[in-house]
Symmetry: none
Subunit: 148 residues, 2 copies
Amino acid sequence: MFRGVTPISLDSKGRLAVPAKYREGLLAFCGGHLVVTADPSRCLLVYPQPAWDPIEQKLNSLSSFNPQSRSLQRLLVGNASDVEMDGAGRILVPPPLRQFAGLIKDVVLVGQGAKFELWDQEKWDLQIENALAFKDSGIPPELDGFSL
Amino acid sequence: MFRGVTPISLDSKGRLAVPAKYREGLLAFCGGHLVVTADPSRCLLVYPQPAWDPIEQKLNSLSSFNPQSRSLQRLLVGNASDVEMDGAGRILVPPPLRQFAGLIKDVVLVGQGAKFELWDQEKWDLQIENALAFKDSGIPPELDGFSL
DNA sequence: TGAAATTTTCCCACTTTTCCCCACTTCCTC
DNA sequence: GAGGAAGTGGGGAAAAGTGGGAAAATTTCA
């Protein structure tokens, strides 16, 4: 499982160096074969390919006649791109996705269990600020009785 | 179980010397393998790894489509970092987390049962001041019938 | 259809950071 | 006061991050 935030800078060619601490695990799990796609929060999602497959299947099984399902399919499946880690452990983030998430140079890779999120540095900081500001706005019902 | 407040100073490299009284217990319980993450109160949480795992599993099982759940996942799982005690019983607090909690030099490590909290010294003092100021503002319903 | 130019991919090298280990100083105990 | 343990600081080696350049492939234009 992936966790933790790593600041990274994209190089002039839009390449992202996967942090060394994740490389070995990714090579073993998926041979460096990743899937990058768009997230509704305007960041990118990065899945090891085996973790992505069942998600794509589930999305494709949704009703084509429900407008929200259709939108999700377009956003997630439509933007999904296969990428491969090169010999130096870097992946090339497709230009359309880079533009979608506003990734220029300073980005952060955020481990989120079975996947990663990829954020523009400033947007990530704002995201965290908001999470703190709304900490008193209630907790999800799913967490009743749960403590840190 | 961990108790008590210990003032510590981070060294110039951001390392934190774990108080000797906890070291033996931590080595026995988790081999010195700890997980540090961000807390909504702008301090850090330090868990022995076995104590952290079920929390992360619970968080990862929350709905990806609930904004509050998503925020919590990003804050807690996204910021979680594995750290190891070195030969001298020190851990390196990751720079992004140090910045998050405003840890420069003088910090306090606070035992809180199965985990620790790590505060900037001044913020901790303020925290205690606030706790005193609001002591008469009522008690949580959970504490009905409970006495110190 | 061929040649040239642009884009993409792969590889190499340099710089920076990180991690690990050793040594010194200070405080507590006997 | 002396010995030991804990806290503190620094330095060096190794690995990771970053950038540039060359070669190959594809596309476009003549």
